[in-house]
């Protein structure tokens, strides 16, 4: 890494303002002049020694007191060299603009739109710079700026756009959508020019049976063929990142449950891992095993959910009920483990909330014995079905280069033949202590992604089985008194513990000043948390890298040229959950 940084410094002596290497967290940050960001980024992307081909995330931090107020943060990943780098560029409040890197990474398009939307930084050269999570006509500013109030804005009547109950509803006048508003969803120009232009704009969602929540897609159609597909996100935007800035570190955990509500456990895991990295806490071994087992159970649940819904979208109804049968068994175990079934709030900073009981181990083992058979059962219903194969083979093909360029992760990337899996690249938990494989596809079509996920379920079962055998006895919470409250039983009996408990829960704990990015392999892809800490008990900035959101960036690319029916297949193959996508 060091030679690369030196080369970077010598190649751009004026552009690179400084390089910080955080050896404890194994992170490298380069501060770059905003004016030269594209040059540096292109060099990092193109140079073989660097080859940062995967853009993980772009976010922004607001420092109101600094002369250059806004900081744009680029998280890059080199798949070839398995290392990450963070680029930071500062822009001023008077001229909040920076050149767009969409020419280098196509995936940057959605990420930059988000930064523009929430922080108000303009990206020069961006092809379609509109608001993405907030409505187009949102006039109250950019919420992630520190001067945007975090509190509520009053009651119902203070929102002029919410219909008042005591007033008669505004009469809906029928009529066409103005031509001007349609323009955003149409292809700029058609090739040839001789072709008669007869496009049909079809609005799909947010109320549609198969948009997996409140996703809206505007399709430009030529017959039933898709000319352009424009996702319109943000119908479920709750401002989790802004909310987190007003909460103590441990108060954020329940909010992560609601990101990808199908797989709440992995969200918890991703978040507590990031905080632990920031605090430099080591988790006891038993807790690591429990965390790994639970995360893999959650992966199976997530994939079962995906399989059921994807098959249901394509019209195979029965698979849905069969997968939910198995999902139910696992949810019952979650209920036994922590009392909840969907929003679990189970992981704690420094460990987990409750331990596996012997009874639960027996139940889980019994489940694992029958589970591979069940996976084969689903396979029989689909894999040997010519209609299913016809509906998934060669649909929504994305090449490995494009998939990397768009910043895709998880099964969506692995279906294209890239073996990037955070669990292997940067092992955490006990993934390096058990044997398992990363399944990869070949062609990058829906069928391959289907196959990858099916295989992942089998691998997860394998991981759980090994973990259950290896799991040692021991504590499930780390012993770090300034961060972790004492066990509840002690709090009720012991004065010191009560005070200790009280202090942590009222004041929170204060991590050191610093920042860290931590990615975790969620069932949908890499779920990353970027935390900036200013030494206070609340995160100064918490950025969630949501895989669903970034996958939507490649939607148009994957949908063009296919039929309306295939749109449904693409929704399914992404395995999107809008709670995570819109945050």
């Amino acid at each position: 890494m060091q030679p690369l940084l030196e080369r970077l410094m010598t190649t751009f002596p004026d552009a690179v303002r400084g390089v910080e290497v955080d050896t404890a967290r194994n992170e490298i940050t380069a501060r770059v002049a905003a004016a030269r960001i594209v040059d540096v980024a292109r060099w990092l992307h193109d140079t073989p020694e660097a080859s940062f081909d995967h853009i993980t995330d772009i976010c922004s931090v607001d420092y109101p007191n600094d002369p250059e107020r806004f900081e744009v943060v680029y998280q890059l990943l080199s798949l070839a060299h398995r290392r990450r780098i963070r680029l930071k560029a500062r822009v001023t409040e008077e001229a909040p603009q920076i050149a767009s890197v969409t020419g280098i990474w196509k995936g940057a398009e959605f990420m930059e739109r988000e930064v523009y939307d929430l922080m108000g930084i303009t990206f020069v050269g961006h092809p379609d710079l509109r608001r993405i999570l907030l409505p187009d006509d949102y006039e109250e500013g950019h919420p992630l700026r520190k001067d945007f109030p975090a509190e509520g804005r009053g009651w119902r009547s203070s929102f002029p756009f919410i219909p008042r109950l005591d007033e008669a509803p505004e009469e809906q006048t029928e009529g066409e959508v103005p031509e001007q508003e349609k323009q955003a969803y149409l292809v700029a120009e058609h090739q040839g020019g001789t072709r008669r232009r007869e496009e049909l704009l079809l609005n799909m969602g947010p109320q549609h049976p198969s948009t997996h929540g409140v996703l809206r897609v505007v399709l430009e159609l030529d017959g039933e063929r898709i000319v352009k597909a424009t996702p319109d996100l943000g119908y479920l935007h709750r401002g989790v990142e802004k909310l987190a800035e007003g909460l103590h570190y441990m108060q954020v955990i329940p909010h992560t449950d609601r990101l990808d509500y199908v797989c709440a456990m992995t969200n918890n895991y991703a978040y507590v891992r990031a905080v632990e990295k920031l605090l430099d806490i080591t988790v006891p071994e038993r807790a690591e095993y429990v965390r790994t087992i639970v995360a893999e159970m959650q992966r199976i649940i997530g994939h079962l959910f995906w399989l059921g819904t994807q098959a249901l979208d394509i019209g195979a109804m029965t698979v849905f009920f069969w997968t939910f049968r198995e999902r139910e068994v696992l949810l019952d175990m979650f209920e036994k483990l922590c009392g909840a079934r969907l929003t679990l709030n189970y992981y704690r900073i420094g460990g987990v909330d409750s331990d596996f009981t012997p009874d639960l181990v027996v139940r889980l083992k019994a489940f694992l014995q029958t589970f591979p058979e069940k996976v084969n059962e689903y396979n029989q219903l689909l894999m040997s079905n010519r209609i299913w194969v016809g509906r998934t083979k060669d649909i929504a093909v994305i090449s490995a280069e494009d998939a990397i360029n768009f910043g895709l992760t998880g099964p969506t990337l692995r279906g294209s033949g890239v073996d990037y899996d955070v669990r292997k690249y940067e092992p955490y938990g006990v993934y390096d202590k058990v044997e398992w494989e990363v399944p990869v596809g070949k062609r990058g079509d829906t069928y391959d992604r289907y196959w990858v996920r099916m295989e992942e379920m089998r691998q997860s079962a394998r991981i759980i089985a090994q973990c259950l055998d290896q799991m040692p006895e021991g504590p499930i919470m780390a012993d770090v008194p300034h961060v972790i409250p004492p066990p509840k039983a002690k709090v009720m009996r012991d004065m010191e513990s009560l005070i200790h408990h009280f202090i942590i829960f009222t004041q929170g704990f204060k991590p050191p000043k610093g920042e860290t990015y931590c990615g975790t392999e969620a069932p949908k892809g890499e779920l990353g948390f970027f935390i900036v800490s200013d030494g206070s008990p609340r995160p100064y900035r918490l950025k969630i890298r949501a895989p669903s959101f970034i996958h939507m960036g490649a939607f148009d690319h994957m949908a063009r040229g296919y039929l309306i029916s295939d749109i449904i297949t693409i929704f399914g193959t992404y395995d999107i959950v809008m709670g995570e996508c819109d945050r």
Binding site: E174, L312, I314, G315, T318, W322, L382, S565
Partner: protein
């Protein structure tokens, strides 16, 4: 006087057939959900009445009391007409179906055939003709709703019905060649005397290919899974009837189920011997109860029809939906050549080995 009586008898017959069909539709809505539930490890409807048997009544009441909405910008006349156009042809087809043996009874000095409303000599053409009109209901419903989803559903339906009706028609030709008649009564009678005389396996040329083509095409014609593209829920919300509510929606719904029954009846009559038992004569007839033999025949007919209806449910539980282009390719490139080849071979066989 005699005309009046004849009319009264015909009306009574129509009322009886309509009653049976509507009752079957009710049973089907429940049976479908129960069968699907059984195949999918769940119970199906369980709340209304014991084991949910009263569910169809609850559904019917609900639909009856729902608000009838006509969307803004819809063509009101067409919008109102479409459900009727869909339902009436589905019902009218039953007029030529022989439900039981073709006997005549004397009533008020008139010859009456109790098990067929009207034995016209072009019965099968009549059914095909009215089935085509049913497609207008769907297309008009899709077009007049002033909704893009409905329009797409209607267009898909138009393409699908045209492609698959052709196959239905061609599949039937083989049977007509062998039986030498277009009347369903005659066709059924030609298959008497045991299951080896049923056209699906009868010599000189078994119509097994035509049978398969007919069954698949009729699934497509009734817009059922895996050919339910006009109403593909996950793509087009509800396709051509997206904008319909209340009783108008119920009309489309009943039409779909009535169509299912109709094509099942036709399949049973054309290929599986209609009301004929799979053995010569009837057991009751052999026992000397000739007067009651019709019961056995009617039961056999019902059993065959229900076998087809079960097949519809079974397909729905098993298969994903085809895509539009795959559907068209399958219809024109696979089914049509098979149906045409079957006609040629049947014609040759029928010429050399006349029955």
């Amino acid at each position: 006087m005699e005309i009046g009586l004849r009319l009264a008898v015909s009306l009574a017959q129509i009322a009886a057939v309509m009653g049976v069909v509507m009752l079957t539709v009710m049973v089907l809505t429940l049976a479908e959900r129960k069968v699907l539930g059984w195949m999918q490890d769940r119970m199906g409807p369980m709340e209304v009445g014991p084991y949910g048997v009263l569910q169809p009544i609850a559904d019917g009441l609900k639909l009856f009391f729902k608000e009838d909405i006509i969307p803004a910008g819809a063509n009101k006349f067409m919008f109102t007409l479409a459900p009727i156009l869909a339902l009436v042809p589905a019902m009218i087809g039953f007029a030529v179906i022989p439900f039981g043996p073709s006997m005549t009874i004397e009533l008020f000095g008139m010859q009456i055939k109790p098990f067929v409303i009207s034995d016209i000599n072009i019965g099968i053409l009549y059914i095909l003709a009215f089935a085509s009109i049913g497609a207008y209901g769907i297309i008009l419903g899709g077009w007049s709703s002033n909704s893009k989803y409905s329009l797409l559903g209607g267009l898909r339906s138009a393409a699908q019905v045209i492609s698959y009706e052709l196959n239905v028609g061609l599949a039937i030709v083989g049977v007509i060649l062998l039986s030498g008649s277009l009347s369903l009564v005659k066709i059924t009678e030609a298959q008497a005397g045991g299951f080896w005389n049923w056209f699906v396996i009868a010599m000189p040329f078994p119509q097994i290919f035509a049978f398969v083509v007919y069954v698949i095409s009729s699934v497509a014609e009734t817009n059922r899974v895996p050919f339910d593209l006009p109403e593909a829920e996950s793509e087009l919300v509800a396709g051509f009837f997206t904008e319909y509510s209340g009783m108008r929606f119920a009309f489309f719904f009943i039409a779909e189920y009535a169509n299912m029954i109709l094509v099942s009846c036709v399949a049973a009559a054309l290929f599986l011997g209609g009301w004929n038992a799979p053995y010569p004569g009837t057991i009751l007839g052999h026992l000397g109860l000739d007067a009651l033999a019709w019961i056995e025949n009617v039961v056999w007919f019902a059993a065959k029809v229900y076998f087809f209806l079960f097949l519809f449910f079974w397909l729905r539980a098993t298969l994903p939906r085809l895509r539009y282009d795959q559907l068209m390719r399958f219809g024109w490139k696979v089914m049509l050549p098979i149906a045409l080849g079957n006609i040629v071979l049947t014609a040759i066989a029928a010429y050399f080995f006349p029955r």
